[in-house]
Amino acid sequence: MKATPTHAAAAENFLKDEERSHWHDDTLWHVRSKRDTSAQKIPEWEQLRTNASQVKDHVLSNMDQLLLQFEKNATENGIEVLWAKDAEEHNQHILRILEEYQVKNLVKSKSILTEECGLNHFLEDKGYDVVDTDLGERIIQFNNQVPSHIVMPAIHLKKKEIGEIFHKHLGTYEGADDPAYLTEAARQHLRQKFIQARVAITGVNFGIAETGGFVVCTNEGNADMGTHLADVHIACMGIEKLVPRAADLGVFLRLLARSATGQSITNYTSHFHRPRKGKKLYLILVDNGRTDQLGREDFRNSLKCIRCGACMNTCPIYRRSSGFSYNSTVPGPIGSILSPGMDLKKHSTLPFASTLCGSCTDVCPVKINIHEQLYKWRQVITKEGPSQPSKKWAMRFGGNVMSKPKLFDLMGNLARKSLSISPRGFVYNSFNAWGKHRELPEVPKESFKEWYRKNRKQ
């Protein structure tokens, strides 16, 4: 099996196209700016974040009771609750339901969980036609890609490219790239899919323990177009996506869309409690590594995530490398603290794809200490991840030098002397990564210690 490219290698590749990478960075910065503008209108913004964080802290500490309460109430509401310990079981549940209803056509609205479980490929291999109805997801589905961002899946594509994709798959005019024209084409195409589908799969933004219902948020209305016309609604939910009480939604719904895109709320916030008369509603609760992460004291807070994507929009590395360079269903800062828990080897370079600037932690609506967890994952990876002997040796050597003042002074002198006398070609070569696009600092005529000894020490 091909080794996963390192984040650094993938990022370097992405940056080769300077114009495009600047465009990608600007686009995502713009979304971050819209978030700022929106948050500024709420004087109590930081208090909301604190409240949401505390609610989620409680959820993590009481998850078993809340899940059982949720299941009990949902079942009383007429929802059939299923449990899946991993991705495979999640997929098998859905397959069984499709077989039971003898359905071949289904529609699916945005669910990162189903991406995580590889549901589309699983079903397509078995001859099912899975139609992703979120416009961005449909675009990348046509393009045989995975989402590059959890909220804006096609953010990496320009309208010209989307025009080409639609020309190929929907028969739009060649060369047409007007977003309104393309959206209309998608509307007509997907409307037929909604009308025909008998099963609709959705994600879940929030499950409400107290009432046994759940909430799905969209701007396009695609989750509702699917579920309200289908015979069967299958809702897929990570076990951590609970809120204890309906009124907690007052806080979360004020934070979610503003953090994600700067809107005050998504245009549709649908509350499902009971199936449509005569129809069926399933809810699948999925673990898939979440209980493991819950047991990791340093990393469990990553489970508070409400999948808003704000951390990706603010991350200067994500913006300049794109979601694909993370090779992780959930990319960016939050992905970099979730994914190593699922596959340490595959995702070992992700926590290092950061300068630990801390902006992600500041924008997180539930106050996940993302940058601190990135630091902590680094400590774990150097001990348990794939070995990097030369890096380890250099760090041990450096640590040794830094613990011995005389050795430090000696090495410092050596470094300064050799730099000042070495020819340029000797210093700047392919081994000198710093020197590829930067000059090393100029060598001063004396170090500070030398100056201090001369000018201050009696």
Binding site: N51, L135, G221, N222, R254, Q263, H273
Partner: protein, 193 residues
């Protein structure tokens, strides 16, 4: 399936941290002018809100904007459409509804979110499948923010309810905002006494 549930619950019990308290619901009393704020909010969401008019205004709006051969469905007393929903058991039959006229239950002004419980829309698909949406909302049903909304509304009462805050939209094509994705292409709210 039971064994998966047991495994998950057992794992949670073993791995969860010590119990942390659940905070109280915060209250942030809303001070601004409700009507003005609602209009501003819905405009940002791609919709529009009109005020100071009666039901006749909606009737005129329908006449002016929708050709007689288009299906007009009104669930609001006093406003007549040309589509009878009473004997329509299957929401698929709503496929060609051009415009639906509904009455909202409550409206939240910080984000223009209007609560439509199932009993007010008959078919869950209606606010989505119609090409255009008109919503009547009484001014005394305006609330400041979502905290107030969840105090007032029992969202678990109906089998389904939705906050609709504007026409459907997407910005998935190079961040260009397009109004009219899969749901209604337009939404006009008539705020009335």
């Amino acid at each position: 399936m039971n064994s998966s549930k047991d495994a998950i619950i057992t794992a949670i019990k073993k791995n969860k941290p010590d119990l942390l308290p659940l905070p109280e619901h915060p209250e942030f009393p809303y001070e601004n002018n409700l009507i003005e704020q609602f209009q501003a909010s819905i405009k940002l969401n791609g919709g529009a809100a009109r005020t100071g008019e009666g039901k006749m205004a909606i009737q005129s709006y329908l006449k002016e904007n929708f050709a007689p051969d288009k299906q007009v469905l009104s669930l609001v007393e006093g406003i007549t459409g040309n589509f009878e929903i009473k004997n329509v058991p299957d929401p698929h039959e709503l496929e060609h509804i051009e415009v639906a006229v509904l009455e909202g239950d409550w409206g939240v002004v910080e984000n223009a979110a209007i609560w439509l419980p199932e009993e007010k829309i008959v078919h869950r698909a209606l606010p989505f499948i119609a090409q255009h949406l008109i919503v009547l909302l009484k001014i005394d049903r305006l609330l400041g923010n979502m905290h107030e909304a969840y105090q007032k509304i029992n969202v678990a009462g109906p089998g389904y309810g939705v906050f609709v805050a504007g026409p459907s939209k997407t910005a998935d094509i190079e961040q260009s905002l397009i109004i009219g994705a899969h749901g209604p292409r337009s939404m006009v709210v008539f705020l009335m006494e």
